[in-house]
């Protein structure tokens, strides 16, 4: 089960020029699956994936590897921005649909 309440905490496990391995305390499949998908849509991303080491603990480990000299944290940032844009559009459309 995911942890009750509390904020998300990011722990960096491994970081090189084009690799990033982070632990997202307090997150789960909800966020990681979405991030993985968006990261893989990015052409500069070579590899993206996540693992939940134990089903009862909510500390998924997200791994990103980029191509060339793009920083993985930049790619991650871009992915987050992309999803935020999508969710903004979604809430806008939802409001519009509910009004009619």
């Amino acid at each position: 089960m995911e942890d009750g309440g509390g904020k998300m905490k990011v722990n960096v496990l491994n970081k090189t020029e084009n690799e990033l391995k982070i632990e997202l305390e307090g997150a789960g499949h909800t966020l990681c699956n979405l991030l993985q998908k968006k990261l893989l849509e990015d052409e500069t991303v070579d590899l993206a994936g996540y693992d939940i080491p134990h089903p009862l603990a909510s500390n998924p480990i997200l791994y990103v590897r980029t191509k060339g000299d793009v920083k993985p944290e930049e790619a991650l940032h871009r992915a987050v921005e992309k999803i935020l844009e999508l969710s903004k559009e979604f809430s806008k459309e939802l409001k519009k649909a509910l009004k009619t």
Partner: protein, 271 residues
Amino acid sequence: MEIKVLEKGDKNMRLLIKGVDTPFVNALRRNALAEVPCMAIDDVVIIENSSVLQDEIVAHRLGLIPLKTDLDGYNLPEECSCKSEFGCNLCRVTLTLDREAKEGTVTVYSGELVSENPNIVPVSDKVPITKLVKGQKLRLEAYARLGKGKNHAKWQPVSTCTYKYLPQIKIDSKNCDACGKCVEICPRKVLEKSEGKIEIRDLPACTLCQDCMDACPKEPSAIEVGWEENAFIFSLESTGVLPPERIMEEAVKILEKQLKELASQIKVRKT
């Protein structure tokens, strides 16, 4: 992106969402189930219980009674400014129950719970709590709090929250001789026969079982069932604690909050 309301009632809602991908709708589904808070009884002080049910069974039954929720007026206990274990007026609602069977056998219903806030009351007055025989008493004080579905199912604002791909049914009019076998076999009555032609009656009802394809005597099948990528039918059924559209809005808001939290922390690492 395009959203269309297919069906909307007090408790249920069905949306047609076009132009989003599976992980996104799945995130909304998961958030609606596990992250959108709602009210439920969490602590019970039993003053007197001479019913046949043990205290913990009564407490468990009370917890599972859906309570109408006011998300704007109350805080989650862990985020409340009071920081108290017992809660304050902003994160806790007290409900009391006092019932004695004066004569005969009586059933105690959820409607007999007296709430300190007239807006936080059971969704239904007809949830049985226990039965009392003459002389038995049930007196208790219950504390309701906001909570999340991931911690206990009693805090789940939805009973059903699912999505499926939008079906796509193609009927090859040249090949089809309108024998009607596909109409007969369809368990959801998606198809109908009219004027010697097979027509689609209710497309969203299709479960993609593809029985109609197997039933078609033509080789290859004159009817083809597929689905549209990136188009979903999202059904949501509230337990009554919150209106369905509010649950949907909250699910999006929570997703945005999670993403912002993550983004802010990555920014810090960059420097």
